[in-house]
């Protein structure tokens, strides 16, 4: 191993892998919460929806589209002042989280909206006919019936976030991207870049595998 990767510091590589996991998982958690809220609002305020409201729908759709349009590397730079105020620094895994969440939550929000649209209108009508409150319809019908789609959307988003953490690494967020760029690329030690690549691909596979398993388990259709 040391022959194949002469310049790799295994302890540093392990630490970087841990940071990538850390950033991905916490960013995913934030994305899940904000994405579901955004997706629900988009779905509910749409014309003909349960909380039909053109103005709110327009504002949220515009926000989502703008943030999805900004390339991630630029989004990080734009958010540096904000991150500074929030955390007092723009370096390290924690500092990457706001940018990661702002970058991926709108994306996941759209996937949530699509998942909710797939819920059978007839089932919602049946719940109304039973006298269900809107909150019951949201939690026990809409979210519950769309869980497999929400999970598979989350898997896709998780993989996008892993990619984003590597980009964030390039401006000093830590993780495998950071290690590959500052220790590998800038010193022309390409074995480090290669080792990081292998690990990132492995992490992506792990997330995809777990996501698929959960989706299949939950899907009773």
């Amino acid at each position: 191993m040391t022959k194949l990767f002469p310049n790799v510091n295994w302890f540093a590589l392990l630490e970087a892998t841990g940071e990538t996991f850390y950033m991905t998982l916490f960013a995913l958690l934030g994305t899940l919460i904000i994405g579901i809220v955004l997706g629900l609002l988009l779905y509910l305020t749409t014309p003909g929806g349960l909380w039909e409201n053109r103005l709110i729908n327009f504002i949220i759709a515009a926000l989502v589209n703008v943030f999805r349009a900004i390339p991630f590397i630029i989004l990080i730079l734009l958010l540096i002042p904000f991150t500074n105020i929030l955390l007092g620094t723009f370096r390290g895994p924690n500092a990457a989280l706001p940018a990661l969440i702002v970058g991926s939550a709108p994306f996941y929000g759209r996937l949530v909206e699509i998942a909710l649209r797939e819920v059978d209108k007839g089932v919602i009508e049946a719940a109304k006919a039973m006298g269900a409150k809107t909150s019951t319809i949201i939690f026990k019908v809409l979210l519950r019936e769309s869980i497999p789609a929400l999970v598979s959307g989350l898997t896709v988003t998780a993989i996008a976030i892993i990619g984003y953490t590597a980009v964030a690494g390039a401006i000093g967020a830590g993780g495998l991207g950071d290690y590959a760029y500052f220790h590998g690329f800038t010193r022309r030690d390409f074995d480090i870049v290669f080792a990081c690549t292998v690990l990132i691909v492995l992490i992506v596979f792990i997330f995809q595998f777990i996501g698929d398993r959960i989706t299949n388990k939950l899907d009773k259709r």
């Binding site: 059978d120 007839g122 089932v123 009508e125 049946a126 719940a127 109304k128 006919a129 039973m130 006298g131 269900a132 409150k133 019951t136 026990k140 019908v141 519950r144 019936e145 869980i147 939950l218 009773k220 259709r221």
Partner: protein, 341 residues
């Protein structure tokens, strides 16, 4: 008792408005099975949704047991909806829940405690004949079983009325009959009022007491099922009756089966709500020295008895035949002697 007064629904369109339901007034008695029949686009689906306000009426009122549904606020409407069960053409079950959990859903909405829910669900499962399927998911059930879950779910909160929105239209004929029998059973056991809409006259004939025919958002004809079957007034009603009874008889005396007969007479017996347990034919055969041969017939059972016509070839002495005919006339069955050469 359900009173519907001048109920209307207009859908605002960009180019022109659509009057889906036009000033419908109806009275439906407690414990009655009331059918509304119409072709698609007649407005019957909108009509049934106006009753529990899944569609908001443009004008008119609906009252159930004296409670005016149309003026209720949101919260009161939710509560009164718990007393109005509804079943659907496509069942509308939650696929993420088992049979048991689907039936428990309206009970959760009504706020029943868990052990009470379980007890009620068990009763309902045996009522609709789904024992053994409690823990299956809807995707593992046949169409008929899914509709049984739908019915159990609709009955969970002991509703005053059951609305059936084309409840058998997605089912094959055999399954349709089993679901219709279940509805009759529930109607008789629980005394539940049922309002159903359908485009199949077969459904009306099998289970309804009274029927209204809808066309272009209006009720064009209504009455007891027998009246409507025996004296359809409107062209649309006649078409629906033909669905079940076939084309009305033309001049039967030209038919080969009448022409070929050389002796005796051909009788047409018209049944209108005749109670079937009279065994009319065998009584005639036993009491009179005549031979009876059934040559053609089309009789349907309705909730109010048999309806249809039966053609008999009767042979014997003329005098005895006359006696037999006057005996049949003394029952509620109408007799017509068909001439043949």
């Amino acid at each position: 008792m359900i009173e519907i007064d001048k109920l209307s629904k207009v859908f605002k369109g960009s180019s022109h408005d659509v009057q889906a339901v036009d000033q419908i007034s109806l009275q439906i008695k407690k414990g009655e099975i009331f059918g509304v029949i119409g072709y698609s686009g007649a407005g019957k689906s909108t009509f049934i949704r106006l009753i529990n306000r899944l569609e908001e009426p443009t004008a008119g009122t609906v009252s159930i047991d004296g409670q005016n549904i149309t003026t209720l606020d949101k919260k009161a409407l939710r509560l009164s909806r718990q007393e109005i069960g509804m079943i659907f053409q496509h069942f509308n079950l939650l696929w993420s829940r088992t049979v048991r959990e689907n039936i428990a859903f309206p009970l959760e909405i009504a706020g029943l405690a868990k052990n009470e829910r379980n007890e009620r669900v068990n009763q309902l499962i045996s009522l609709v004949g789904l024992s053994g399927k409690e823990d299956a998911y809807p995707s593992q059930l046949s169409g008929g079983q899914k509709q049984r879950v739908g019915i159990a779910r609709a009955l969970a909160n002991n509703p005053k009325v059951l609305l059936c929105d084309e409840a058998t239209s997605a089912l094959d004929p055999e399954t349709t009959d089993s679901i219709l029998s279940l509805l009759i059973d529930i109607n008789e056991k629980l005394g539940l009022t049922i309002i159903l809409i359908t485009h199949e006259m077969h459904v009306i004939q099998k289970i309804c007491h009274n029927v209204a025919v809808m066309e272009n958002g209006k009720i064009v004809e209504q009455g007891s099922v027998l009246d409507v079957f025996s004296h359809p007034q409107q062209p649309v009603t006649k078409k629906f009756v033909e669905q079940v009874m076939g084309k009305p008889d033309q001049d039967v005396s030209d038919e080969p089966f009448v022409q070929g007969i050389e002796s005796g007479r051909v009788l047409k017996l018209q049944f209108v709500g005749e109670t079937t347990n009279q065994a009319l034919i065998s009584r005639v055969a036993k009491q009179y020295e005549v031979e009876l041969n059934i040559i053609q017939g089309n009789i349907k059972q309705t909730q109010a008895g048999a309806y249809g016509a039966l053609y008999l070839h009767i042979t014997g002495e003329d005098q005895v035949i006359d006696q037999a005919i006057s005996f049949i006339r003394s029952t509620s069955v109408e007799v017509e002697v068909i001439d043949h050469d």
